[in-house]
């Protein structure tokens, strides 16, 4: 068993940096790859080495398998960590790494293939005795057949890209007249995102909870689960807030679902970190939804309550270590919540926005973790995901965690682009959230409570007016003073202090 000494991170943004952090703690050298848009991105500056791999659109860079493997070879990397998104669930990439003699930090091509295709995943799970949601058993490419199946299963139905993930190529259809446009939109989106426009169709569970279990399995047959993550707070089918434990969870249900998750991992001889996603209805019936054969965006909340560095585990498992993974050694301590900070406009249908970051103030202190990658002056490229940071908070109790999250969101200031920060604060203030009574319809059910209610006092507005006036007046004054040296650093104006209490 040869220890891994150098890892190429085939990704960008916060996850690239998060992986490099653990590498640094393990004395492993890091190799970054970057597209044209990312020359000055933080992952390039954080890594020991960095190589250009192509133009900004991801098919020409972050999805360019041969190029990435070539960089790994040239730089002498022993292993590639794919992060999430991009090539992380690409069986061919895992295959190509194997052929090149480079460790792919993730499961085998066979497992990715089986679990990556949602239909074969369903079949595999059904064989292993795991409950699944009623729906089609194969990928549909024919429009007429799809329409027939939709009618057969009965509304509401969910259309999903067979190769999909992250809400792309997904459509919920309630009424017969919406079925055809939705099908076409889903297929077009799937084709653009994954190069495959086949979809599958399943019964849509009303009032569903999206609960997933983190699993770890080594190459020696040991598997454990690291408890659940509640991910029901979603907008546009993308997660926005996650927490663990789930407010819905009972000890009995946790034990049962945990066992099923471990069985699912064992059924495919899994390797590394993975996630079993379930839909849970109000009666606590649960159905296998899909398996994510990679690290999840929301993995830090699991790290916080279990104390386990999941990236470290991934690396050790990939290295072939026989980890002492024993379920009875694992405990869930306290409560963790993650809020995803997107560059988007929550008051305009969560429209993603690119642009330049003006200033950032990160929240700090007890129980706060941020995983981000943008910095002051950074221009968010239009080519990639709009998530710019994750805020993870821990508290002794759920109540303490919510209050701490509110405090952290209050402290978190990103100016220059629109972000979801204020919207997330409103979620923390929402009675349904505070009481833990929510399902995946939370955002639409609480539209009223979540809109900007303009509660700034009149005097606060007046202070803004005064500030704008002073700034304007200074700019007018500056016309007569063009030779003045403008310091590059911000500098507080020096004025004598007047006793005024």
């Amino acid at each position: 068993m040869k220890p891994i000494r150098k890892i190429l991170i085939a990704n960008r943004g916060e996850i690239a940096i998060r992986i490099m952090r653990t590498c640094r703690e393990m004395d492993i050298e890091t190799v970054a790859v970057y597209s044209e848009a990312d020359r000055t991105s933080l992952h390039v500056r954080y890594a020991h080495e960095a190589y250009y791999i192509g133009k900004s659109p991801s098919p020409e860079s972050y999805l360019n398998m041969d190029r990435i493997i070539e960089v790994a070879r040239r730089s002498g990397a022993d292993a590639i960590h794919p992060g999430y998104g991009f090539l992380s669930e690409n069986a061919l990439f895992s295959q190509k790494c194997r052929e090149a003699g480079i460790i792919f930090i993730g499961p085998s091509p066979e497992v990715i293939r089986t679990m990556g295709d949602k239909i074969s995943a369903r079949e595999t799970m059904m064989k292993a005795g795991i409950p699944v949601v009623p729906g089609t058993m194969k990928a549909i490419q024919d429009e007429e057949e799809a329409m027939r199946l939709i009618r057969e299963i009965g509304f509401p139905v969910m259309l999903k890209a067979s190769a999909g993930g992250g809400g792309k190529g997904m459509r919920l259809v309630h009424h017969p007249e919406d079925a055809l446009p939705a099908l076409r939109a889903a297929r077009s989106e799937a084709l653009a995102a994954f190069g495959d426009d086949s979809v599958y169709i399943e019964k849509y569970i009303t009032s569903p909870h999206h609960i997933e279990f983190q699993i770890l399995m080594n190459n020696h047959g040991n598997a454990v689960h690291l408890f659940e993550r509640e991910c029901s707070i979603q907008r546009r089918h993308q997660k926005m807030v996650e927490e663990t434990p789930s407010p819905l969870m009972t000890p009995a249900l946790q034990e049962e679902m945990g066992k099923v998750a471990v069985n699912a991992a064992k059924a495919v001889s899994y390797s590394g970190a993975g996630t079993i996603e379930f839909l849970v209805d109000d009666q606590l019936n649960f159905y296998f939804l899909e398996m994510n054969t990679r690290l999840q965006v929301e993995h830090p909340i699991t790290e916080r309550v279990t104390g386990i560095d999941l990236v470290k585990m991934q690396i050790l498992i990939a290295q072939g270590e026989k980890l002492p993974l024993l379920q009875e050694n694992l405990t869930q301590s306290g409560h963790a919540i993650e809020c995803r900070i997107y560059a988007e406009d929550p008051d305009n249908n969560f429209m993603p926005g690119a642009g330049k970051i003006s200033r950032i103030a990160e929240p700090m202190g007890l129980g706060i973790r941020t995983d981000g990658y943008v910095y002051e002056g950074y221009e968010i490229p239009i080519y990639y995901d709009s998530m710019i940071s994750k805020l993870i908070v821990w508290g002794n109790t759920r109540d303490e965690a919510i209050k701490r999250m509110k405090r952290a969101l209050y402290e978190y200031k990103i100016t220059g682009v629109k972000t979801s920060i204020k919207y997330l604060e409103r979620i923390m203030d929402c009675q349904d959230f505070i009481e833990g009574r929510y399902n995946t319809h939370f955002i639409e059910n609480n539209r009223e409570h979540l809109t900007d209610n303009n509660d700034c006092a009149h005097s606060c507005e007046d202070m803004v007016v005064i500030a704008a006036y002073i700034d304007y007046r200074e700019k007018l004054g500056r016309v007569f003073d063009t030779k003045e040296f403008l310091p590059l650093q911000n500098r507080w104006k020096k004025t004598t202090h007047i006793h005024h209490f």
């Binding site: 249908n349 200033r359 209050y410 507005e461 500030a467 310091p487």
Partner: protein, 169 residues
């Protein structure tokens, strides 16, 4: 010198009555404030008023005299309405669009689908065009019952931010 400032939809008139370094007496509409104001050239303001501590950050927008103002609790659109902008506003140039008769792209992206043709009757809320940006497709709906005028783009086109896509009659 008093100046008018537009904050979201409110117009306010400001005037500095007295100044002693960072200590100011300022009138906003009918209210007089004694404040202690410190700021950086970068637009970070710390204002103490009656003991209350206000933090404001001004970020200039593309257009001159326009800012986005960030407080710890809320964000505002702010515009200084001096003689020049008042003139433009009265002429109807610049300023605020009333009852837009078009759909614009909010940011750079790509046209995925155009679901209507020139001359089509559309209902309010009907999806007319689908754009893709930042890996996400967004459906744009008609803001009212009406008729499609000019369609300025085709499927597959790359569009700039703030570009007119579809006009209505």
């Amino acid at each position: 010198m008093s100046v008018e400032i537009k904050i979201n939809n409110r117009f306010a008139r400001v005037e500095v009555l007295e100044q002693n370094d960072n200590l100011l007496k300022v009138k906003v509409d009918d209210k007089i404030y004694d404040i202690d104001l410190m700021h950086t050239p970068g637009g970070t303001f710390s204002i103490l008023e009656g003991g209350h501590s206000y933090n404001i950050e001004l970020v200039p927008q593309d257009q001159p005299k326009k800012y986005t103002a960030y407080t710890l609790y809320k964000n505002f659109n702010v515009e200084v309405i001096d003689a020049e902008s008042r003139y433009l506003l009265n002429r109807g140039g610049g300023g605020i669009d009333a009852g837009e008769k078009w759909i614009k792209s909010p940011m750079p992206g790509k046209v995925v689908m155009v679901l209507v043709q020139e001359g089509d009757e559309v209902a309010k809320g009907q999806t007319v065009i689908v754009l893709s940006a930042m890996k996400m497709e967004s459906e744009y709906k008609s803001p009212f019952d009406g008729k499609v005028g000019k369609i300025a783009v085709s499927e597959g086109d790359v569009v700039e931010g703030n570009q007119v896509l579809i006009e209505f009659l």
